[in-house]
């Protein structure tokens, strides 16, 4: 075979390989736009009925977060100023929410400016800027959605969120501070979407807190509005803040007693995130199981 033809063959092979690599790269970045329905096979009890009071298992909290959780009184949510409060961008994915994702594109260049998300719960919306803009200065406002920028890493959309308002680690009073940053890994696998959220909170966490939530593509899905009207649910003195004094929350043992979990384990912390903790739990004392209420 003449040298030039062999050379052409090599060039062609290189070109084909390059096209394959590029095509793979292009396919790897799957546009997450569209309607997505939630799947609750992970963490059903925490997400849908709602977490139990005093259940801090599996969260790398510190003592300060533990006391915030112990002090939390659920009637705080009755206050008018808290009734329509949205979840933070790091927690909102967890709700019983339909999700819509759409793009904002520059008309002239057709370059992607941003992804936008809408969650049906609270009508929460988030903008993920893809145009390389910088995050605002520290004196700018914090919001439930925070300020998010995104970049592709292979097939994963990496989202960095700052400027978050205080919100939940778990919806039973465990706080996430407004000094926290969230790093979201958004992965589309065909008709499935996995949202892995990593929360870094220097105030209430001792390690990053990682959680995944899944959605399925649902182009037929309807997005319901979320009208929320504040009402006076309970007549209280102005300015009152329901809470439990330290050591005075009578409900903290209900969770470990109900499930036969050692109370020490229910207090959570980084150690309780890891599988080997199950072995350690076996040696811990438990409370008597709470009797089931009689059938009506």
């Amino acid at each position: 075979m003449p040298q030039t033809i062999r050379g052409c063959g090599a060039v062609t092979l290189l070109a084909v390989l390059s096209m394959l690599v590029l095509a793979r790269g292009a396919r790897a970045q799957e546009d997450p736009s569209g309607m997505w329905a939630p799947r609750f096979h992970e963490d059903w009890f925490e997400r849908i009925p709602g977490p139990e009071i005093g259940d801090y298992l599996g969260i790398p909290i510190n003592d300060a977060a533990r006391l915030r959780g112990d002090s939390w009184d659920a009637t705080l949510l009755e206050l008018p100023e808290n009734q329509c409060r949205a979840h933070g961008a790091d927690y909102g994915w967890r709700g019983p929410s339909n999700l819509r994702i759409w793009t904002e594109v520059d008309r002239a260049t057709q370059k992607l400016i941003a992804y936008h998300t809408h969650l049906s719960a609270y009508g929460a919306e988030q903008t993920i800027w893809m145009d390389g803009r910088a995050h605002p200065p520290d004196y700018a406002r914090h919001t439930w959605a925070g300020f998010s920028t995104g970049e592709w890493d292979g097939d994963t959309l990496l989202i960095t969120t700052t400027h978050l308002k205080e919100n939940w680690l778990r919806r039973n009073g465990l706080p996430r501070s407004d000094a926290a940053t969230a790093r979201v890994h958004l992965l589309r696998h065909g008709n499935y979407l996995t949202v892995a959220v990593i929360v870094y909170d220097p105030v209430y966490l001792t390690e990053p807190f990682i959680r995944t939530t899944d959605f399925i593509y649902a182009p037929q899905q309807q997005m319901a509005p979320w009208p929320c009207e504040v009402v006076d649910e309970v007549d209280r003195p102005a300015g009152s803040v329901p809470h439990h004094l330290p050591g005075a929350n009578p409900f903290l043992e209900e969770f470990p007693a109900k499930y036969g979990i050692p109370p020490q384990a229910a207090r959570g912390g980084a150690e309780t995130m890891y599988p080997e903790y199950i072995l350690k739990m076996r040696g811990m004392p438990t409370l008597p199981r709470a009797a089931k209420p009689p059938a009506p």
């Binding site: 329509c84 009508g123 407004d178 929320c228 300015g239 809470h243």
Partner: protein
């Protein structure tokens, strides 16, 4: 002993913070040139309101066809940069300067900024007293701010007359209409000091809170100047009562704190909840007969210290706990 220590610490930090009698009265000590190399940043808020950051306490700027109105003046050392920042927003004269309270990180720039402006006057007023009626902006504050600035305690502690408020009010509220906007000045008694004013811009829907609300730490309670934890909470509750959030309980009315980032009422609610919970805990300890030392040992703020606390600097967690304790036990 503890009070003496607090006073000494206050004196030591006076130049930077304006918390002491000396600096609160604005005598502009040489060392008061706090952070002269700092920059003043302009943040658009909403409506006709902007927030200036970096000049000591936050400064609120309202601009419009009538001129410029400021809430607070920052430190004396930063006035040139403050004036330069204002000129990026408006070339109209500075007409009003409202002081939210007496401390020098909010009033230190009074003299220079007021004299860079002018008051609207005419007719008999100017005719009777001449140009002095108009040669500076009107400086408005609650009466006790003037009383503290003008108190002849000692020559060392006096404030130059040119830095005093030119108009004061003694009622719960004073109103002003400027730049097509109703402005309410609302006095909150015995809170951060005894001369606190909330300023509510009704058309722009912005509240300038002074040091009744900060995002940078626990609330400063200046017991020596009539401050009290109960007044702080009353002030926070007043802000929550005035503000109307938009969807999801955020946005709507925006709140400019005395120090820290731009906020809305949801941020104020978190802060009010924190302060109220700590107040309740310390009150419960006092009700049990616990001494200040016992209360401090119990660390009633420990779940919030990571966000708001400090073991060093001008206003430590221990000072905050002591101020709450003394507020509630009325031993100060």
């Amino acid at each position: 002993m503890r009070t003496t220590l607090l006073a000494l610490l206050c004196l030591a930090w006076a130049p930077a913070t304006g918390f002491t009698e000396q600096s609160a009265t604005g005598s502009r000590p040489a060392a008061a040139s706090a952070r002269p190399s700092a920059e003043v940043h302009v943040l658009p808020v909403q409506g006709s309101i902007y927030m200036l950051v970096g000049a000591g306490g936050n400064i609120t700027v309202q601009v419009g066809t009538d001129g410029v109105l400021l809430v607070d003046a920052g430190t004396a050392a930063m006035t040139d940069k403050v004036l330069a920042a204002i000129r990026t927003l408006s070339d109209k004269p500075i007409r009003y300067l409202i002081n939210t309270h007496v401390h020098a990180d909010h009033t230190g720039g009074n003299e220079a900024i007021a004299h860079a402006g002018s008051t609207i006057a005419g007719g008999n007023v100017v005719g009777d007293i001449g140009g002095s009626a108009t040669n500076q902006a009107t400086v408005i504050a609650f009466q006790s701010v003037l009383e503290r600035m003008s108190a002849p305690a000692s020559a060392k502690e006096s404030v130059p007359q040119a830095a005093w408020p030119t108009e004061t009010y003694t009622t719960p509220e004073r109103k002003l209409f400027f730049n097509d906007e109703g402005i309410e000045m609302l006095h909150v008694p015995a809170a951060h000091t005894d001369g606190d004013t909330l300023v509510f811009f009704r058309r722009s829907d912005v509240i300038s809170a002074g040091d009744l609300f900060v995002t940078t730490g626990y609330p400063l309670i200046d017991l020596r100047r009539g401050g009290n934890i109960q007044g702080i909470i009353a002030g926070l509750n007043r802000i929550i009562e005035l503000a109307i959030p938009a969807d999801e309980q955020e946005g709507g009315t925006l709140v400019i704190p005395g120090h820290g980032r731009l906020c809305d009422v949801a941020d104020v609610v978190f802060y009010q909840e924190m302060v109220t919970i700590i107040r309740d805990r310390i009150q419960a300890m006092i009700d049990k007969g616990m001494s200040l030392e016992q209360v401090e040992a119990a660390r009633p703020t420990r779940d919030y210290d990571g966000r708001y606390g400090s073991s060093t600097g001008f206003w430590t967690t221990a000072m905050f706990v002591e101020a709450v304790y003394r507020s509630l036990s009325a031993k100060h």
